[in-house]
């Protein structure tokens, strides 16, 4: 039996927001219920988000993607437009938990879980996503790049709800990839997660984003490495140098899944591999022009 708590079942967004002060949002429950059972979580009152209308909706147009605060990882996989609108996020969704967890787990809940191994976060950082927050006193939006302030710490105020996330659709000269290193493809906690975005302009890289998961107290962008690539032609040597810079910026721990040294090594290897892959895929497109 789970510890006792109250459970609110508000019927719409407004009512949800008025119930949030002092309450804990309950989305898929794949973190919250596990934590409640393990007695790691002490929430006294849960506020169920599943009755908010259209909370799972996904809107994709030519330039822009917006997902709801209740969009699940399974919803991302089932949306056929997502493969172009967020290739790295689809990559993460495919290797996320098992089918049942994917149907329950929300992207917003993953973002809020604060785990440095949360799989949707490197993709969302590589896409430069914006987080929409609402409370009964107003709404604001925070770039995901400035959302995390430390291990399991973020900018969300206690009474705020994530009502959605949005980002720009990567253009034809941008490649966006994610790789999860884990013991097996599905249902395993990430050892190292890497998401990259590379934009090519002629023979140069005009923009690069590299987001690393599970190698520091929070998911973060390896901005030293990004800066080395920006406005440069990407040679093998430069890519390797940048991948080493990404490794130098990571600060992993030893745990049962892997040693810190192994994690650092794989950051170097995976960053090099993904940037190379992204760059080469765009070379093909340049040649087609």
């Amino acid at each position: 039996m789970l510890r006792e708590f109250e459970l609110d079942l508000p019927g719409d967004l407004q009512e949800t927001l008025t119930r949030l002060p002092g309450g804990t949002p309950l989305a898929g429950g794949t973190n919250l219920l596990v934590d409640l059972r393990a007695r790691r979580e002490e929430a006294k009152r849960l506020v169920w988000l599943g009755n908010i209308e259209a909370f799972r909706d996904i809107k994709i147009d030519k330039a822009h993607v917006a997902i709801g605060g209740g969009t699940t990882v399974g919803d991302i996989l089932r949306n056929s437009a997502m493969i172009d609108a967020a290739p790295s996020l689809v990559g993460a969704a495919r290797v996320f938990g098992g089918q049942m967890v994917r149907n329950q787990a929300t992207v917003a809940g993953n973002v809020c879980s604060g785990s440095p191994a949360a799989d949707t976060v490197p993709p969302l950082l590589s896409l430069d996503a914006e987080i929409c927050l609402a409370s009964s006193t107003g709404v604001r939006s925070v770039p995901i790049d400035s959302f995390y302030s430390g291990f399991k710490k973020n900018q969300r105020k206690q009474d705020e709800l994530i009502t959605g996330l949005s980002w720009s659709v990567p253009g034809p000269s941008t490649a966006n990839l994610f790789y999860k290193l884990a013991r097996r493809k599905g249902d395993a906690i990430t050892v190292v997660g890497v998401a990259v975005t590379v934009t090519r302009d002629g023979d140069r890289c005009s923009d690069a984003r590299i987001a690393l998961g599970a190698v520091a107290p929070t998911v973060f962008r390896a901005k030293d490495a990004e800066a080395m690539l920006t406005d440069q032609p990407l040679t093998e040597e430069l890519i390797d140098e940048a991948a080493r810079a990404a490794m130098a910026q990571s600060n992993p721990i030893d745990d049962i899944r892997a040693s810190a040294d192994y994690r650092r090594h794989t950051v170097h290897m995976l960053t090099r591999r993904l940037i190379g892959q992204a760059w080469r895929s765009l070379a093909g497109k340049e040649a087609d022009k």
């Binding site: 039996m1 789970l2 510890r3 006792e4 708590f5 109250e6 459970l7 079942l9 309950l26 898929g28 429950g29 794949t30 219920l33 596990v34 059972r37 393990a38 849960l46 169920w48 599943g50 399974g74 089932r78 495919r94 938990g97 098992g98 089918q99 049942m100 967890v101 994917r102 149907n103 329950q104 493809k185 599905g186 249902d187």
Partner: protein, 162 residues
């Protein structure tokens, strides 16, 4: 003990009323109401033994609170095991020996059935992705994959569908 509440829910096509306190999982609640085909394994989302469909979507009932299914439709293995018209997965599992101790079977069928609606001709990769949240300690999965493929074939030919 927190207060019990009555919740209306459709279970395997029949309107039912369940009672549950706020902190009861759908897993415990269903078993308390006689649905022993829903199995309790890890109780933390790892094994898939407790899988049921809510409005057609497989979820782990151990990670679902009973109150949150008010007004929705829940499908358990019994919902696929209509005596007149059993789902082709059931015959295929029997034929191929895909059931040994049987503990994982209800969850696997619930997960596989949902996949077959989306992917009528699944590859091994599709099956692996769909069943990655279901652990089986007996069969080694090979026979399960064979049975799922056979059931897919039967369904594609219109079997088990009238």
């Amino acid at each position: 003990m927190s207060l019990e509440k009555a919740i209306s829910v459709e279970i395997n096509g029949i309107d039912r009323e369940l009672t549950a306190p706020a902190n009861e999982t759908l897993l415990d609640c269903l078993r308390r109401h006689g649905h022993f085909e829903v199995k309790s394994g890890c109780e933390k989302g790892d094994c898939g033994a407790c899988a049921v469909q809510i409005d057609g979507e497989p979820v782990d009932s151990c990670l679902t609170l009973a109150w949150t299914v008010e007004g929705r439709s829940v499908t358990t293995l019994e919902g696929l095991n209509d005596a007149e018209n059993p789902h082709p997965l059931i015959a295929a599992f029997l034929e191929h020996g895909s059931v040994q101790c049987g503990y994982c079977t209800p969850g696997i069928m619930i997960a596989a059935e949902a996949m077959l609606r989306e992917k009528p001709d699944p590859t091994n990769e599709d099956i692996a992705i769909a069943l990655s949240g279901n652990l089986c300690r007996c069969t080694g999965y090979t026979k399960i994959f064979t049975a799922v493929k056979q059931a897919a074939g039967v369904l594609r030919q219109g079997g088990g569908d009238d």
